[in-house]
């Protein structure tokens, strides 16, 4: 069985972030909690990077849910936003520590390997407070919001 066959028709929840950079890693924290719940038919993975690495992981799946941190002007730490690919049109050229950001990587995939890309990609973005201090812990505000965030994502999955 090829890698594509293994992924066909499946749903992937992908936690993205840096797990030693405080709230930057909140997506990874969420993924680890979801993994323990052993939800049938749902695969859970972690990606401590973004950019084109994302394509290596998401291609072949039917549906993908990406959980990541976000920083918005005036956002409340721990707040959860549900976003679609088209919500990122304005930042599609944006910078990231990986040369290109997640929306640009997905747009590359849609352009170059459209037949292998998931039919739907949803984003759960969690407002981060601290993404500069090296720590394995989330800030108290984001940590407090974590159970509610996991519940909301679970409702989407079941």
């Amino acid at each position: 069985m090829t890698e594509s066959d293994e992924k066909k028709g499946k749903i992937l929840v992908l936690g993205v972030g840096n797990p030693i950079l405080s709230d930057d890693g909140v997506g990874i924290h969420v993924a680890r909690i979801l993994k323990e719940k052993l939800i049938p038919g749902i695969e859970i993975d972690e990606l401590p990077a973004s950019g084109l690495e994302l394509l290596d992981i998401v291609h072949g799946y039917e549906r993908v849910i990406i959980v990541d941190s976000i920083k918005t002007d005036g956002g409340k730490p721990g707040e959860l936003y549900e976003l679609q690919e088209e919500d990122f049109q304005k930042t599609i050229h944006g910078s990231s520590p990986h040369g290109i950001n997640i929306p640009t990587a997905l747009a590359m995939g849609r352009k170059i390997i459209p037949e292998q890309m998931p039919k739907e990609i949803l984003f759960f973005a969690i407002e981060a407070k601290d993404t500069l201090n090296v720590s394995e812990k989330l800030t108290p505000e984001v940590a407090a919001a974590l159970p509610g965030i996991v519940e909301q994502i679970l409702r989407k999955l079941t």
Partner: protein, 504 residues
């Protein structure tokens, strides 16, 4: 395909301070602040970068064996470089000599990192300037615009070969992005014959892709007199500095192991040192306006942001490496090295190439070398041996150096008798280049902005002066939005904001 747009029309500004924040296509966020005098000419320019805080505190007290995994978490761009530097540091900490098989596997893994990293830089970060032009519309000046210009099949080749680089790292290193295989005196994972054969096939394909990339560089950049004009523009993109990089015993460029060679502005060797001697060679200068330190050559001294023999500023990375070596051990890279040298010789350059934009050319030569070296190593059936771990001794202090794709990367740890980390110091590639990249920004800003006339294309040409260094200053943040692409804030002399322009 339409020709690149190299120039646009500047408009007059009466402002005294221009901020480019965050910088587009810099790997890690930063901003440029340009100060204009009353006549609208550049008085000064600064490249400011944020820095992650608390990493040293985070590592102290942990077991040193954790550091190859923790240090590579610092960075989502070159984690493999941190993993290799850290593993080599553990060799020193535990007085361990890796087995021949382990050395080959580490280097093979590392060639995968070079493929991945140099492809990403050249096609995603540099190509928008060269294929589309520095003054092309901002909404097109990105990798998607490059694919539109060159066609989907070429874009697919880019994705495929970058992915091959990742795959080689995954096979050898256990994980593609944050590897886990490095141990003092060796590696943790033996590879199978099937895996070796798979990597050999991928390496062959990477060599062809390297040839294609060199040809593309020749066609698009060297074949365009306007670009050659930019590359050879000594007012904007030229610094006579010292250079630093790793070489083998024959002074051929080596990314994984060897001595560190420093040459002067004329190409004469200033010093060649072992990793353990780095503190005798490098000191660090601190400026009040940035978190990041600025390394310089101790024996020359810090003279500020100036080039020349009396200034200890040095450059690392592809241009540093190509200037300290006398070539490459692989035939195709060596052939292109000769073309590089001959081309600049025809322009009157006999020693090191000081043209900042030549970083890009050196990088594509290194891409070719990495592919060739990958094939050499993957073709060696001996790499499937189970002799992957050598003996080791009680821990102490140790230093390890490798060449990250962005330049010389230094790790230095001290351990107590139980293996717990008591001291950690790292000088990363972009820090080594910080003084020079800052000086390049100022030089380009002075050359591009005259009498208060600015335009998006001119500001992008200022960015090009440091983008070629492939800087990665603030390793590790991954937030989904990643920040806006380009924001220019124009301030009055008292610092208050008059207008703000955004290109998104």
């Amino acid at each position: 395909m339409a020709g690149p747009i190299i120039n646009d029309i500047p408009v007059k500004t009466n402002e005294k301070k221009i901020t480019i924040d965050p910088i587009t296509r810099l790997e890690g966020h930063g901003k440029i602040v340009i100060f204009l005098d009353d006549a609208g000419n550049v008085e000064n320019a600064y490249l400011q970068v944020p820095e992650l805080r608390g990493f040293e505190r985070f590592c102290i007290g942990r077991h040193v064996m954790e550091l190859p995994v923790l240090t590579n978490r610092l960075c989502g761009v070159c984690p493999a470089a941190h993993h290799i530097a850290s593993t080599k540091t553990l060799d020193a900490v535990f007085s361990a000599t890796p087995t021949e098989t382990a050395k080959k596997l580490r280097e093979l893994f590392y060639m995968g990192q070079y493929m991945h990293s140099h492809i990403a830089h050249f096609y995603a970060l540099a190509a928008p300037d060269f294929v589309l032009g520095p003054s092309s519309p901002w909404e097109k000046r990105n990798i998607l615009g490059v694919v539109d210009a060159v066609g989907v099949p070429i874009g697919a080749e880019v994705i495929k070969h970058r992915s091959y680089g990742q795959k080689v790292q995954e096979i050898v290193g256990g994980r593609a992005t944050h590897p886990v295989f490095g141990l003092p005196g060796g590696v943790s994972k033996q590879i199978s014959e099937e895996e070796r054969a798979q990597m050999e096939t991928m390496a062959k394909s990477c060599i062809e892709f390297g040839k294609f990339t060199i040809k593309l560089f020749h066609d698009v950049v060297l074949g365009n007199k306007d670009y050659l004009g930019l590359v050879t523009n000594q007012d904007a993109y030229y610094l006579e500095t010292y250079y630093m990089g790793m070489v083998d015993k024959d002074n051929k460029s080596n990314f994984y192991d060897g001595d560190i060679r420093v040459v002067d502005q004329g190409g004469k060797e200033l010093i060649k040192f072992k990793p353990s001697q780095y503190l005798d060679v490098i000191a660090e200068h601190v400026e009040p306006w940035t978190y990041m330190k600025m390394p310089y050559l101790k024996q020359v001294g810090w003279k500020g942001f100036v080039a020349g023999a009396s200034s200890g500023m040095f450059r690392v990375g592809p241009l540093g490496r190509i200037n300290v070596c006398n070539g490459y051990t692989t035939p195709l890279a060596q052939k292109e090295y000769q073309v590089f040298k001959d081309t600049f010789k025809s322009l009157g350059v006999s020693g090191p190439v000081h043209h900042t934009l030549a970083y890009h050319w050196a990088r594509v030569i290194e891409l070719q070398h990495a592919a060739e070296r990958m094939l050499e190593l993957a073709s060696d059936r001996g790499i499937t041996s189970d002799d992957i771990r050598g003996p080791y001794n009680p821990p102490k202090e140790g230093i390890g150096i490798c060449e990250a794709p962005r330049g010389t990367l230094i790790h230095h740890y001290a351990s107590d008798k139980d293996g717990l980390c008591t001291k950690i110091n790292m000088i990363v590639a972009s820090t080594n280049n910080y003084a020079a990249s800052n000086t390049s920004v100022k030089q380009a800003a002075k050359a591009m902005i005259k009498n208060g006339m600015i335009s998006p294309g001119l500001l992008n040409k200022v960015e090009m002066a440091f983008r070629c260094y492939d800087p990665c200053h603030s390793c590790g943040t991954h937030s989904l939005n990643g920040g806006p692409a380009l924001e220019v804030t124009i301030r009055r002399k008292d610092g208050s904001v008059l207008t703000k322009q955004r290109n998104f």
